[in-house]
């Protein structure tokens, strides 16, 4: 059995999915489209709405499929688009060796052999209808004026709400100082949750998420370090609220207080920083916020001399969807044009165009290991973590705590968690890591045993 357009129609959960899939049927959106004739597997990578591309695979013999996107529709538009393209123009799919992620999927997959409870049906769905472009109706000028007025009013309300929220936050911090930070430390999760909820009411979603993380960050430290960490966290909130009041529209500040720009807006921004370079995935961090939002962060190292040293790809999805994998594995290199979100110290980015490349070496680290972090600190003093490229060093132990220590011994930084045993016996020729001012979190390293990933 193979995939036909009828199969695609029948599998689609609804007409809207087909419509969405039709918009993805452009070669430019699919840097990878391959197949293996022997196993009847077809796979591809689609630059979807996330920062990371989605990986899609289907088995043409039985229509089993998998996509890494967080959609709740099965199959999702990416799967439908890949099947649809394959059904219409299989010649566009090159022959390729089945990659490990497809093999892993096969290993987890269970073929039940039983017929599905609801047999897919084409009823009420049509590919031609999905492809049809609706003629644009001329809009009523009065309606446009009404909509613009409503948007302006909403924006004004949002600004007022945000200003009220940052005022509330400052008052709350003053209250904590007045009643003593010792009492706050004893009741940190409850009090932070309460003020975070007020920030949500004030449309300061990013600020709320950040405050929710404070208990986790502070209480993970030793007793003697907690007060310093709490003061640092509250101090950064003060810097942020004051910066917001001074320039509420500044993109970095806006992103840290309210919400980030839309992906489409960043890609369409003619002034956005675009950097074509070779990038290596040096690490991944997956965190689940209190509100059950999973933040998937991929850190990229720029292997060429121009542009920012690091880039950060961020994706968000609800925890209820389970663990999602992304297209990029730690250690993978690719050539790509990255579009950076507007910032004083550009870091967060989106992948625009991408292709494979020959392996390249890491750039030489700076002589001063924390210089990169200091630049971030200067540009964005409310920032919490900064990526760093560390010079030669190795892991040393002090009691139960592990430290990264520079080869010359002139700098030692404590690690947030012990690395694998093996790494403690390696010479780290260079290491990429995140520095939060108190702890170093290793992402990956070049060692005398080759490259090792340390983010797992």
């Amino acid at each position: 059995m193979t995939i036909t357009t009828d199969t695609v129609t029948a599998l689609a959960p609804d007409q809207a999915s087909l419509k969405a899939a039709s918009k993805l049927m452009k070669a430019a959106k699919w840097p990878v489209r391959l197949r293996d004739e022997v196993s009847n597997l077809v796979w591809g990578e689609c630059q979807g709405s996330g920062a990371n591309p989605y990986r899609v695979v289907f088995d043409a013999s039985d229509q089993g499929y998998k996509c890494t996107c967080p959609s709740r529709k099965f199959p999702c538009k990416h799967t439908l688009a890949l099947m649809w393209m394959y059904a219409e123009t299989p010649a566009d799919f090159g022959a390729g060796d089945v990659p490990d992620w497809v093999t892993d999927w096969l290993g987890r997959r269970r073929k039940t052999g039983a017929a599905p409870a609801d047999k897919p049906s084409s009823k009420g769905k049509s590919l031609s209808l999905a492809r049809a472009e609706k003629p644009e109706k001329p809009e009523d000028p009065a309606a446009i004026a009404r909509r613009e007025a409503a948007a302006k009013k909403r924006a004004e309300e949002t600004e007022a709400a945000l200003l009220t929220a940052v005022d509330d936050l400052e008052v709350w911090i003053e209250d904590q100082l007045r009643t003593g930070l010792g009492a706050l430390l004893n009741d940190l999760p409850t009090r932070c949750r309460a003020i975070a909820a007020r920030m949500v009411d004030g449309k300061a979603g990013a600020l709320a998420g950040r405050i929710d993380e404070i208990p986790g960050r502070v209480l993970a430290l030793t007793g003697e370090e907690r007060l310093d960490a709490l003061i640092a966290q509250l101090g950064k909130l003060v810097i942020l609220t004051r910066a917001f009041r001074a320039d509420p529209q500044q993109p970095d500040i806006r992103r840290a207080v309210a919400t980030a720009e839309k992906r489409e807006d960043v890609l369409a921004d003619p002034n956005a920083l675009r950097v074509k370079s070779t990038w290596e995935v040096v690490g991944e961090r997956v965190t689940t916020r209190r509100d059950d939002l999973v933040i998937h962060a991929k850190w990229l190292l720029n292997l060429q001399a121009h542009g920012p040293r690091f880039a950060l790809l961020l994706d968000f999805f609800p925890a209820s969807l389970g663990r999602r994998s992304t297209a990029f594995a730690n250690g993978e290199q690719f050539e790509a044009e990255l579009v950076f979100y507007p910032a004083r110290a550009p870091l967060r980015a989106l992948v625009d165009q991408r292709k494979t490349c020959d392996p390249k070496a890491w750039p030489a680290p700076e002589a001063e290991p924390l210089a990169e972090a200091a630049r971030f600190e200067t540009a964005l003093p409310w920032n919490e973590v900064a990526p760093v490229l560390l010079p030669p060093g190795r892991i040393a132990l002090s009691g139960k705590r592990s430290w990264w220590t520079a080869a010359g011994g002139d700098l030692s930084l404590p690690l947030d968690q012990p690395p694998p045993d093996a790494v403690t016996g390696m010479a780290l020729e260079a290491a990429s890591a995140l520095w939060d001012g108190a702890r170093l979190s290793l992402l990956s390293a070049q060692t005398d045993w080759g490259r090792v990933a340390l983010d797992g």
Binding site: S39, L106, T179, L181, I231, G235, G399, P420, D421, G437
Partner: protein, 451 residues
């Protein structure tokens, strides 16, 4: 005047309790509002100071290189996939890869600190994990005095070599040192005589016959049995033996004798029989039956009482007697006489394992226990008669999870024992039968074929 850090510490102390901060803190900060002071104090720690440690930092020594070639980079993902498969013992794969002359990357796998059954090449990693490598490259001849100076990974190999080349010196060393060591170490020392065991070791072993460790005692009894000086039969038990077995005559001239255990009705009776056999030796049983031990083995009828005779021979028979009974058991039944197999040397176990493999496809995973060292050197000739159609069908069509899992375990096992050519042929045969070429269950066979 206090340093800025001390002045900021004073501020923090006030904030901790909620006390007023008026007049506290660096002079330049005086007059600032409370929140500004908080922001500055928070940034001060981050910008102007680095965390320090009062305790000394101790770097670990480099991981020692293995005396093996590194596993090629493109094969590491396959090893990691096998490592992550919880149905499968990673150490088997490591052992197989070592047998091909390759070592895994330390980030992909490291032995446990307490691992006691490692491929010899990896023992230096366990010593490194335990900080037990010698401080410098030392080459001490092994004596009671240098024992502690020799790396643990080398001690026992050196002792086994010493026992082979100068058995008297090795026995003297064991006699002097073993009583001072822990049970596991005593056992490992005594195990060093196993490979080149001779009658001269009997006195040494008898010295540990009453060891306080049951593991040591069991080992010693087995080795004494190998020398033909195993435990004697209990007289009362010998008197009871005729109650449990019959000796019949068979053949045209009634020359062939058959020993049959009587059928017992209750678990209590069976328990009593097991207790009686446990107090007997093979030589003692032969005396009761007025036969030689070899005649007893040849005449035994497998069925009732098989467990008892196997346990008895495993505990008290010589190597030749154990091997003779194992061969008979395999020929006569599909019974898996594991206690006997544990007594045999690796080569004999392998030979028996392959014999079972030839006539019993269901024994694929069971044979795994018989072939202790997966060396990946079994040729296609020995494996080509396996029922690959049945295995393929179990992998691709079976609705029974157990059948599928057993077939998958069998395929993995074949990946451990097959040589390169056989591994390639097995993959080709399974794929031709309908298994997907990229089926992850073929990973070990593919790794095998690539090494």
């Amino acid at each position: 005047m206090d340093s800025p850090a001390a002045q900021i510490d004073a501020l923090k102390a006030r904030w901790m309790t909620g006390a007023t901060t008026s007049g506290v803190g660096p002079e330049e900060w005086q007059g600032l509002d409370e929140l500004s002071l908080l922001a500055l104090a928070g940034q001060f720690a981050r910008v102007a100071t680095h965390p320090g440690t009062s305790a000394p930092l101790t770097p670990r020594p480099d991981i020692p290189a293995l005396p093996l070639k590194p596993l090629p980079e493109d094969l590491r993902p396959q090893f990691r996939r096998l490592r992550d498969d919880k149905q499968f013992e990673t150490l088997d794969t490591v052992r197989f890869i070592a047998a091909r002359g390759y070592g895994v990357h330390p980030v992909d796998w490291m032995p446990r600190r307490t691992a006691d059954s490692l491929p010899p090449a990896y023992e230096v990693w366990r010593d490194w994990l335990n900080d037990a490598l010698p401080a410098e490259a030392e080459d001490h001849a092994l004596t009671a005095e240098t024992w502690d100076m020799v790396a643990p990974s080398r001690r026992y190999a050196d002792l086994a070599r010493l026992h082979r080349d100068d058995p008297e010196a090795a026995r003297a060393l064991i006699t002097a040192l073993a009583p001072t060591l822990a049970a596991d170490q005593r056992l490992r020392m005594l195990q060093c005589v196993q490979a080149a065991l001779t009658d001269g070791d009997a006195d040494l072993l008898q010295g540990f016959d009453g060891d306080r460790s049951s593991k040591v005692q069991t080992f010693v009894k087995t080795q004494l049995a190998r020398l033909g000086t195993g435990p004697q039969s209990d007289a009362d038990a010998a008197a009871e033996i005729p109650d449990y077995i019959d000796v019949a005559k068979a053949g045209i001239l009634s020359r062939k004798r058959i020993i049959e255990a009587r059928k017992l009705k209750t678990p209590a009776q069976k328990k009593s029989r097991a207790q009686v056999f446990a107090k007997m030796s093979l030589a003692g049983l032969a005396d009761v039956l007025k036969m030689t031990p070899d005649e007893v083995i040849d005449a035994w009828s497998f069925g009732e009482g098989t467990d008892e005779i196997i346990a008895l021979v495993a505990a008290t028979g010589t190597d030749a007697q154990v091997s003779r009974l194992a061969e008979r058991a395999i020929e006569a039944t599909e019974y898996t006489p594991l206690p006997l197999m544990e007594r045999l040397d690796t080569a004999t176990r392998r030979a028996f394992g392959l014999q079972v493999l030839k006539h019993d496809d269901l024994a694929l995973p069971l044979t795994r226990q018989w072939i202790a060292e997966p060396e990946g050197d079994v040729s296609w000739d020995a494996l080509s008669s396996l029922p690959f159609k049945k295995i393929t069908s179990a992998l691709t069509e079976s609705k029974n999870a157990n059948t599928e899992a057993q077939a998958a375990a069998g395929v993995m096992f074949l990946g451990l024992i097959a040589d390169r050519d056989a591994a390639t042929r097995i993959v080709d045969t399974l794929v031709a039968g309908g298994v997907l070429p990229v089926d992850p269950r073929l990973t070990l066979l593919r790794l095998n074929a690539a090494l």
